[in-house]
């Protein structure tokens, strides 16, 4: 008889996955693997929240169709102010996230084989050489960093238009718009793939863990590296 009083159940020795996940990742606990440690998750959520703030304060300036969004922060004048500062916060946290993931996101040998359209067909099995992040995730990471920089620089011009020449202001309007459209579509895809499309993924950003089966399916090489193949 175990100490829990349930036949067959044993008290897990050592810390739980969530406890370990506070400052460690890529560790196996029972049937789970810690994928993102607490700090990474917090920074990612700061990025997510500031992105949503940017969308809700930027869209009403983009088009009056979204004027209702400005009401959520107290009107268009507030939205204009809020947008600039949430943009700064977004850039800050995205850079931070960049630093945290920089090394993991380096492209490696097998990555050129990745095809996004092929990937979206959801065929199995996955390429056995896919590590902790697949090439699509890496591309998204770098594209997000670059787009963030474009949005930041053009945003600064739009924030203080009077300090810049007409040519730069015009360029900034166009870049900020195109950057946003691309960013928005990519984020929709990112949220979709991280929730409905690939069950078991979302909890890696909440609990910080994924199941072994999930890792074997989506990131086989990472699974082998972390578990030793079991």
């Amino acid at each position: 008889m175990s100490e829990l009083g349930i036949p067959g159940a044993t008290h897990a020795p050592g810390p739980t996955a969530m406890q370990l996940g506070r400052d460690r990742e890529d560790v196996v606990v029972g049937d789970e693997i810690v994928r993102h440690r607490l700090w990474t998750r917090l920074v990612h959520w700061a990025v997510a929240v500031t992105f949503i703030l940017c969308v809700f304060t930027g869209l009403p300036i983009w088009s009056p169709v979204f004027g209702w969004m400005a009401r959520l922060v107290g009107g268009l004048s507030v939205a204009r102010w809020f947008h600039a500062w949430s943009g700064i916060a977004f850039a800050f946290f995205t850079l931070w996230m960049g630093v945290l993931w920089w090394a993991d996101m380096a492209f490696d040998k097998g990555d050129h084989k990745f095809s996004f359209t092929e990937y979206l067909r959801f065929k199995e099995p996955e390429d056995p050489e896919v590590g902790k992040y697949n090439a699509g995730q890496k591309f998204f990471f770098w594209a997000a960093l670059v787009t963030m920089l474009v949005m930041l620089l053009s945003g600064i011009v739009l924030w203080y238009p009077m300090q810049f020449g007409q040519g730069l202001r015009v360029l900034s309007i166009v870049l900020h718009d195109i950057g946003f459209i691309g960013f928005f579509c990519a984020i929709v895809g990112h949220i979709y793939l991280g929730t409905a499309a690939e069950p078991g993924t979302f909890q890696s950003m909440t609990r910080g863990t994924v199941t072994k089966a999930w890792a074997r399916l989506h990131h086989p090489r990472w699974f082998r590296e972390v578990t030793g193949g079991k």
């Binding site: 268009l76 238009p161 009077m162 015009v170 309007i173 166009v174 579509c185 929709v188 078991g200």
Partner: protein, 293 residues
């Protein structure tokens, strides 16, 4: 409506129903004859006084000009330039710099705040500070570099063509103050006739290039300026053939629809993908979930 008695022809960031559609008033205009301007700056003072604008320190730039450029609290500036070439000789050119009140205003087209810039039925283009968000996009849309941001109020400011006086049947303050009569106010059609007459006089006087500056690229302006060197408006600091910057219409007419389509496409694409390819689940989990059910 901001001012009673003046119907709105157009207002910024309005997707449907941009005007009130009643009382199509005749367009008013300012007439500026730069050939009889003596650069006395009475119009500058009158503008400051009537609009109760705080003083801006003058800035000596080595010419007869009060300051280098317009200011959020200095809406009317007599610009001074020394120009000359072999054909035209040497001259001192004075020009009244202010909002041109375009018939097709680039500021209004670029403005993202509903109703922050309005064009009244009589052609006056005005900023409603209550709705202005101070983003400065109007400045990007303006071919004449007129709107200015006021750090004190957080809003844009520019000449109102004394819309408050005009509504009450008075001429703008600058016109009232002009001692030489080089500034006149009235219906634009009358003033254009007067300007044509004056240009004819100038032609007879030997200024063969004299012309009226009423640029068609912005649909004409409610500030018409008589230039002795009509073939060289840039000598006066006026753009030769001003138009609303093409980026404004590119932005609103092309990028906006593309944006709507792309955003909707991403959302519906995700839904469609889910229905076509379904979730990608680990096999063993799916199996155990199936056996539980």
């Amino acid at each position: 409506m901001a001012i009673q008695g003046l119907e709105i022809r157009r207002s910024s960031a309005s997707l449907r129903g941009t005007g009130t559609g009643i009382r199509n008033l005749p367009r008013v205009a300012k007439y500026i004859d730069t050939t009889t301007c003596i650069g006395c700056k009475a119009c500058e003072v009158a503008c400051q006084e009537w609009n109760d604008l705080p003083l801006v320190p003058t800035e000596q730039v080595g010419t007869y000009q009060t300051m280098p450029t317009l200011n959020a609290t200095y809406w009317n500036l007599i610009q001074f330039r020394e120009v000359g070439d072999q054909n035209n000789g040497f001259s001192w050119l004075l020009r009244k710099d202010q909002c041109m009140h375009c018939a097709d205003p680039g500021c209004l087209a670029a403005c993202p705040a509903p109703g922050a810039i309005v064009q009244y039925s009589n052609g006056i283009v005005d900023v409603d500070p209550e709705r202005c968000i101070g983003c400065g996009l109007c400045e990007t849309g303006c071919p004449f570099d007129v709107p200015r941001y006021s750090a004190r109020t957080g809003k844009m400011a520019k000449c109102t063509l004394c819309v408050d006086r005009v509504t009450s049947g008075l001429e703008p303050a600058c016109i009232k103050a002009c001692p030489t009569g080089c500034l006149q106010f009235g219906e634009k059609s009358d003033l254009l006739a007067m300007a044509a007459h004056r240009v004819e006089q100038l032609h007879k006087d030997g200024f063969a290039q004299a012309a009226v500056y009423d640029p068609p690229g912005v649909g004409g302006t409610s500030v018409i300026t008589i230039l002795r060197h009509g073939d060289h408006p840039e000598w006066y600091g006026l753009p030769k053939d001003p138009t609303v910057p093409p980026v404004v219409s590119f932005w609103k007419r092309i990028l906006h629809p593309i944006g709507y389509l792309a955003m909707a496409g991403a959302i519906f694409g995700a839904i469609g993908h889910f229905m076509a390819f379904g979730p990608k689940k680990p096999k063993d989990e799916a199996k155990s979930a199936g056996s539980e059910a």
